[in-house]
Symmetry: C2
Subunit: 140 residues, 2 copies
């Protein structure tokens, strides 16, 4: 289901701006920040303001349509929620590339840790920061 369809199901008021932003997010396979979203939105309609982008992503986040991430670069990045059957992220510190991964084992341990400490696990954040290994394929 597209984001626009989700919005309609939740009977949100659909404006041109929201449709543009929704479409961009549907097509994004990366983790764009607001500036990047605004840039892409302006290619379609140069009158969309950053304020609207901020308001829209917040709206979508609150509606459970997007997830917000704050990696160590200091700005918020967004990701389509339906893509994510829950995964975590590895950030390439050399070029900023973000790789998704999933690990059931860690999920289980996390829950167990929280439980042991007397907590119900509500949310978590797991980010790995790595540098590409020197590829030694075809060593001479």
């Amino acid at each position: 289901m597209t984001i626009e369809e989700m919005c309609e199901h939740k009977s949100m008021r659909m404006t041109d701006q929201r449709r543009v932003i929704a479409k961009i997010l549907d097509n994004a396979d990366d983790h764009p920040d607001v500036e990047e979203l605004h840039k892409r939105a302006c290619l379609i309609d140069k009158n969309i303001s950053v304020a609207t982008v901020y308001r829209t992503v917040r709206l979508f986040e609150e509606a459970g349509i997007l997830v917000r991430h704050e990696f160590k670069d200091g700005r918020s990045r967004y990701e389509n929620v339906d893509t994510s059957d829950h995964h975590d992220h590895l950030i390439d510190i050399e070029n900023g590339e973000i790789i998704e991964f999933m690990n059931e084992e860690i999920e289980v341990i996390q829950k167990k840790i929280a439980d042991t400490l007397g907590y119900e696990l509500i949310d978590h954040r797991l980010e790995l920061y790595g540098r590409p290994k020197a590829t030694k394929k075809n060593p001479k």
Copy 2:
């Protein structure tokens, strides 16, 4: 070894302000942010400016004396590095309390994940956000 001693070993220039901030950090058993550090510093010397606190924690961080954390509350919090035989954090979303924990198993898996993806693990972030379980001790 106290922070002040570490600074001297690294032949940093020691000012009164730095000594005050160093001492506060030595005595802190929590994860104070800059505002909190500044508040505590002012109790000792009301002339210390926030700018100095910011500069000092950055200095200490770069010298490997402090670790900076950015939990989901949006500001940086600092922790004495020597205390930490590497641990992660569980944040109580009800009252902001921060609990440290250690889990060797997760560390190993993380390294393995990075390796599998072709990366050398440089850094990571693992935070659990939880709500205290209803304690049913002594149920009547």
